[in-house]
């Protein structure tokens, strides 16, 4: 590996449930990636800006407020509006199965629900990162 994978772990929206985000952030770090954690209560625009400023390869969004159908596509649209189409976007949280196809159509690569082993998330991320590492 020539350089480390850079990941933005982002918390869009108003919910403060950060257990999953923090656990996944640590798992990424322990797997040798560079992790930037957005902190809480971020708007889609703030997350897009952070992804640009930090020049990340992956945006991993954690959301448990049920607002994923509104906020996740807004992040993807924001990235595209900035001409960014090679960032891997992942979602974790409480997401009903019937919402998954819509998120994927918006450009999300994978949705990880409760009970997903950390290694599954880490391996998926390594195997699907789109930029040359």
């Amino acid at each position: 590996m020539d350089r480390k994978i850079r990941v933005l772990v982002g918390k869009p929206g108003l919910d403060g449930h950060d257990r999953g985000a923090k656990v996944v952030a640590r798992a990424y770090r322990d797997a040798g990636m560079e992790v930037i954690y957005s902190g809480l209560h971020r708007t889609p625009a703030e997350l897009v800006q952070a992804a640009i400023d930090e020049d990340v390869d992956v945006v991993a969004l954690s959301i448990l407020s049920g607002a994923h159908n509104a906020l996740v596509p807004a992040v993807l649209e924001g990235l595209r509006a900035q001409g960014i189409d090679d960032v891997l976007v992942l979602v974790g949280g409480i997401v009903p199965e019937h919402d998954v196809p819509g998120l994927k159509a918006a450009g999300v690569s994978a949705v990880f629900g409760p009970g997903t082993p950390l290694d599954t998330i880490v391996e998926y991320t390594k195997n699907h990162v789109r930029r040359a590492i």
Binding site: V9, G13, L14, D15, G16, H17, D18, R19, A21, K22, V23, A25, R26, A27, R29, V35, Y37, S38, G39, L40, H41, T43, S65, G66, A67, N69, A70, L71, I94, P96, E97, H98, G113, P114, G115, P117, L118, D119
Partner: protein, 530 residues
């Protein structure tokens, strides 16, 4: 030869093969246990406990608009629920109106959207507020929602001294775990002491804070951390009340607690027993409370949402049953049982009904209500209760060395402790050291097909229209004057609550009131640590 090298509780406390009299040998019955209803209340706060009165069955619910939630409330009361518990949506919790840009996509999603007294009137329409007690899970804007409840009661002809219920109003655990804070700690604590003073005079049966370990545990803490951090928060509120010049015996009897019930049955029972003993001793000996009601740790319990699995969701009914049993064996005063579908969405009506029936089966069929503290005297339970107490005292000392709860929050102490425990737990699950049925053992390929509650897509638009109608129809000069008075109380020393009630009666909105207070108090930002 044993199946494993080590046996431990879900929180990682080592457990020996068998407990014997010497494991609880130092216990002196009158000093450390006492009969139920006797100091230090280890065995329970009431002499007769569930023989006298069952716990309150109080299911947390709320979604969509006030009208939809009112229908769910009436349904739950018809089904035998004995108290109400309101779940608010994220914009209400964070003090934004439904038409605020940050509310986009979140209106009515995790709870009910409340913008003004007009919504509150609908929420409790046809529900006699003089007879039902209501718990409201609201923290940063607790003063606003309490004022709306008082106003809604008045509109029904129910005066404040006949209202009963709880506002969660526990801001310290928001900084520590749940993260729905708005203002910085100092003004937040001032709002809390204003509520304590106001309620002691005007709403005397109201529980002014529900000091909550639930969210600390959900964020990933161990049982001992939940116990220690919650009681440390409780003591910080007592100290704040006394520092504000209130007599401890005036406000302490209205403090209540809220704990998690996780999977490890004995550890949980020990936690509740230790909590009562620690609190009674602290209130009597450390804070000098003389009214025995100040010594009592009364608590609500909710089964552990974080223990529920998305896989094979029907199994969650069984998990919830074990957890609810722990709460009852531990002497809870009220209980919420989670629904099986909550790793996917908010509960459907069917799932919520099964959750309520779980409590009713424990109460009517299991026989566990027939005697008080049935596990008391078990060598294991008494040893574990002592261990919990000692672990809590070690944390109290660590917190004191940091200068108290607020400095410890500002140093990120609690947040780091919880994040460490959460990560260690996840690694134990991933390595199969701790088995989770359907997740790391007994898995089956499945397509989960349970009917899920879906929030009506028109909810946000409807709520915003209603809000704008309220703004058009009210007397805006009256609103402005009331907000001005509220702001001047907030800037000065005067209790904000009377001005708050006046503002909500003029139909000032949650967002307008909170914006005024944001201007006065500023907002809190936490360091983004992981």
């Amino acid at each position: 030869m044993e199946r494993r090298e080590r046996f431990q509780t879900i929180s990682g406390l080592p457990v020996r093969p068998c407990y014997r009299p010497e494991d609880a040998a130092q216990l002196e019955y009158p000093r450390d246990l006492g009969d139920p209803g006797q100091y230090p209340f280890t065995r329970g706060i009431h002499h007769t406990m569930y023989r006298g009165r069952l716990w309150t069955m109080r299911q947390f619910s709320g979604f969509g608009t006030a009208l939809e939630t009112n229908a769910r409330f009436r349904y739950l009361l018809e089904q035998g629920q004995t108290g109400l518990s309101v779940a608010f949506d994220m914009p209400t919790i964070m003090g934004y109106d439904s038409d605020h840009p940050r509310a986009y996509g979140e209106v009515g999603v995790v709870g009910v959207a409340i913008d003004s007294l007009a919504d509150m009137e609908i929420l409790f329409s046809g529900i006699p507020l003089g007879q039902v007690s209501t718990s409201m899970t609201i923290n940063a804007p607790a003063s606003v929602l309490l004022a709306m409840y008082v106003a809604a009661g008045a509109k029904q002809g129910v005066p404040g001294d006949r209202l009963s219920g709880t506002v969660q109003n526990d801001i310290l655990k928001e900084y520590i775990a749940q993260k729905s804070y708005v203002f910085p700690p100092a003004p937040s604590m001032r709002l809390i002491t204003d509520i304590m003073a106001y309620c002691s005079r005007h709403v005397p049966r109201w529980n002014t804070i529900s000091i909550s370990g639930y969210h600390i545990r959900e964020a990933g803490s161990t049982a001992a951390q939940e116990l220690a951090f919650t009681l440390a928060d409780g003591m910080a509120y007592v100290e704040a009340g006394m520092a504000a010049g209130l007599d401890v015996d005036v406000f302490a009897p209205r403090l209540s607690f809220f704990f998690n019930a996780h999977n490890d049955l004995f550890e949980e029972v020990a936690k509740y027993r230790a909590a009562r003993r620690i609190w009674a001793r602290a209130m009597k000996e450390k804070y000098g409370a003389r009214d025995p009601r100040s010594w009592l740790l009364r608590f609500h319990t909710q089964t552990a949402g974080c223990s529920l699995t998305a896989q094979q969701p029907e199994n969650n009914i069984v998990r919830t049953t074990v957890q609810a049993l722990a709460a009852v064996l531990g002497g809870t005063q009220s209980l919420h049982t989670n629904s099986m579908d909550e790793a996917w969405a908010l509960p459907s009506e069917k799932a919520a009904t099964i959750a309520l029936r779980t409590q009713q089966i424990l109460a009517e069929e299991s026989g566990v209500v027939n005697t008080v503290d049935p596990l008391g005297g078990s060598y294991f339970i008494e040893a574990l209760t002592n261990e919990m107490e000692q672990a809590a005292h070690a944390y109290f000392q660590a917190i004191e060395r940091m200068g108290g709860v607020i400095p410890a929050i500002e140093k990120g102490f609690f947040q780091r402790e919880i994040a460490d425990a959460a990560y260690a737990y996840q690694r134990r699950v991933d390595s199969k050291a701790y088995g989770v049925v359907g997740v790391n053992c007994y898995e089956v390929p499945e397509k989960v097909e349970i009917p899920l509650l879906r929030i009506h897509p028109e909810t946000e638009r409807r709520q915003v229209e209603r809000l704008q109608q309220v703004r058009r129809e009210r007397d805006n000069a009256q609103v402005e004057a009331a907000l001005g008075r509220l702001e001047s109380c907030a800037r000065g020393q005067e209790n904000v609550m009377p001005a708050m009630v006046e503002a909500v009666c003029a139909y000032a909105t949650v967002g307008e009131i909170m914006d005024r207070l944001r201007q006065v108090f500023g907002v809190y930002r936490e360091p983004a640590l992981f």
